[in-house]
Symmetry: C2
């Protein structure tokens, strides 16, 4: 009925059914909507209609809706629902989504929500929350259908049918043995194609790719991406199947990790988005800036050490920003290549050696080109051949140093098991300022008698 | 049999079967391997064994293997296979993978490969290649099973069984009418749960979310991510179903787009990875660097305009790198927040106004803190109160300017439909150098009589 309506038309239609208190008609519309669309409509709904909107939805759909909202909206919704209905909704939510909601609440609020829930679900979500953040254990769901290896295909299909409403994703069925250990996997397709009398043991695929509860979520994402899976099973240390991770959660991980890399590379501060409040955003960015301020003063200290040189040839100051800037820029370029490369590559000595040599070569090529260019420009501008040579030589060396710093520093951090993206662009830029000023004024001081 | 073996043990075992020419044993092992693992083994295999390895594989598995390799490896493999077998393999490859292989070849090489293929497959891949790059048409596959709306569930399952080997992904079945227009979708689960006699028309879900052939791949990724789909159907302008896009391709798109953002933000040059040759990498980075070199000279020109001021108070030079650096750093921070935010937000005037005001507030907060800090430090270091005030005031203003430049420039580019990530970190940094030097020397010149 609403098949060809736009989002706005549907919204208006829903408001009409709410105003006229037509629950049956309302339910027919809602039944046709995807959770994401329903959440959009709910978010844009005038406040006065929200209470009845929630009243009209059953707990199943409310749980789907919850999973599309952000934390604040989720809490508002629970408050509006009241204790009894909200406990029903919490029971029905996916464990991983529920865990990430509870994670950000105060201990009191968390306990009060947990106490509303039924024992089994509340234990399950508390089990998940024991795993360290950003591990497979944290993003897995326990809503999946498992089958035993001694089932027949018919028994498996029957179990599937009876749990169809319960399970999040039913594309593969993971097979466990008597001790609940993961022993195989069967796809929907396999079940459809098999003879109903066949044993699961005979049709299942035994070399199951899995992750463990403590596997880092980035590794989980890499696994799913490499194997093109729709879900991946999670086992504990005894190889017992405890959950699955679905591809939709993996996409979220990939996006989150990419954002984190960009945040770190630009030192832009942890999770600042369009909604972050001014003072919070300022507070998150300040620590880096203050650190960089002090490192920047080291550059000042270096220049003051060359005060005499500078006083003799003030023109040296004209090229300072260009040399420092260029060195910083090449450093940032190398850094970005290395940080992103580390994500998709397995690193060994050979790879590192080749990469460092490549970047050295890049530094030399870029250095020669830019040095020749700037020598000519400086000579023409200042009419001093030696000054041109000093600026050119300095740029040549600083570009090589900048490229190598941008390559080697993240690699060393990686080796020390520190996230290489911590060596952010601003940090590399500021360090390269120091290197370039030392080189520039060092060379200038050597030739000072010819410069005057 | 190989269930509990490590990758290395499997490799050795495979080499053994190749040496002893045991094809049957070889096939049993290969049958248990995922395409990704098979590709890893192939890549690490000593060259002398590769020919027989390929000889032992059937075209189906070779096609799977091809899809895991990069372009150069794919071409090597095709050369080793010879014309007849390689045409078989090309016929069996997914259209989207084949299109991206052909895309990077010379026209002659492309035509020669296409002419080897059978007419139907070659036409299909050429159809895909007509769509603009980075659109849904380019990443869709035509290997999917569709059903008619007038089928019964039994007929649908029968069709599914007969095409099971052919179709890439069988999680949803898209339903078309007599004119091949997309009219519904049925999941595996629906088929399993339905009565065999029911009509597809009665059980299908009609409000199908779809994309069109010209939809940008980023929008496709956003759609799949929002709705948590495993695949999304692609229709042409007449609403005829022409392909599907699977979630594994969507993950690749998400990773590629994130890498592109990082490349642009750091101006690190288009698609430079660990394998890129030195001169290619240097050539890709040089254009940006040369542009930045000239912009850097503008900074030099500004300083030379203030030569007199600088000659009178050389100590002013000590704080130049710090002020320029800090301004650049705040700019980069704001830039990263805006660029990533633009990806996930729908932008209107209200959002822009709020964001600019927020960043202005951040600039003021950061400015006050850092300005007070540096005034005190400069006073203590140089023993000149006015110098401390000049440096502090300058930093206050330049930090606000830097923050706003990092916010407003990408927003303007976005408004002008230019990719905002083009306003890379290095560009913002270099522009902010100019702003900060003008501010700093401007203020210093105003107070020059008190500074001396």
């Amino acid at each position: 009925m609403i098949k060809d309506m736009t989002q706005d038309e549907i919204s208006l239609y829903i408001i009409k059914t709410l105003k006229e208190n037509k629950k049956a008609e309302f339910e027919i519309i809602v039944d046709e909507l995807q959770p994401y669309d329903l959440a959009k409509i709910y978010q844009d709904l005038p406040f006065k209609h929200k209470a009845r909107f929630l009243l009209f939805l059953n707990p199943d759909i409310l749980a789907d809706l919850m999973e599309e909202l952000d934390k604040e909206e989720q809490l508002d919704l629970l408050n509006m629902l009241g204790v009894e209905k909200s406990s029903n909704v919490l029971n029905l939510m996916d464990n991983d989504d529920l865990a990430s909601l509870l994670d950000e609440l105060s201990p009191e609020k968390k306990d009060s929500l947990l106490s509303e829930m039924n024992k089994m679900e509340s234990n399950a979500v508390q089990d998940i929350m024991k795993y360290p953040p950003e591990t497979a254990g944290r993003i897995m769901t326990n809503r999946f259908v498992w089958i035993r290896n001694y089932y027949t295909v018919r028994e498996a299909v029957d179990k599937l049918k009876s749990f169809a409403e319960f399970a999040e994703s039913l594309n593969y069925l993971y097979v466990i043995d008597g001790a609940r250990r993961l022993v195989g996997v069967v796809s929907y397709r396999d079940l459809l194609l098999a003879d109903p009398g066949e044993k699961i043991d005979d049709i299942m695929y035994e070399r199951v790719i899995y992750v463990t509860v403590t596997t880092d979520q980035e590794v989980v994402a890499k696994t799913v991406e490499r194997y093109d899976f729709i879900s991946v099973p999670v086992v504990d240390e005894a190889h017992i199947l405890v959950g699955i991770i679905t591809v939709d959660d993996v996409i979220d991980v990939v996006i989150k990790e990419a954002n984190e890399d960009i945040e770190k590379l630009s030192a832009s501060g942890k999770s600042i988005d369009f909604e972050t409040k001014t003072l919070v955003a300022a507070a998150r960015r300040l620590p880096w800036l203050i650190l960089l301020l002090f490192i920047g003063l080291i550059s000042g200290r270096i220049i003051s050490g060359f005060e005499e040189t500078l006083q003799k040839v003030v023109a040296l100051a004209f090229f300072m920003p260009m040399i420092a800037g260029m060195t910083g820029n090449t450093g940032t370029q190398s850094l970005a290549v290395v940080v992103r490369g580390l994500i998709s590559h397995d690193i060994d000595k050979k790879v590192v050696f080749r990469l460092v040599m490549r970047e050295f070569g890049v530094g030399v090529s870029i250095g020669v080109t830019c040095a020749v260019l700037i020598s000519v420009i400086a000579y023409i501008w200042q009419g001093n051949f030696i000054l041109g040579m000093v600026v050119g030589c300095s740029l040549f060396f600083t570009l090589i140093i900048g490229t190598l710093a941008g390559t080697v520093i993240p690699l060393i951090l990686y080796k020390l098991k520190i996230d290489p993206a911590v060596a952010s662009g601003p940090l590399i830029t500021t360090l390269n300022d120091i290197f370039s000023l030392l080189t520039y004024f060092g060379i200038a001081t050597m030739f000072i008698q010819y410069l005057m």
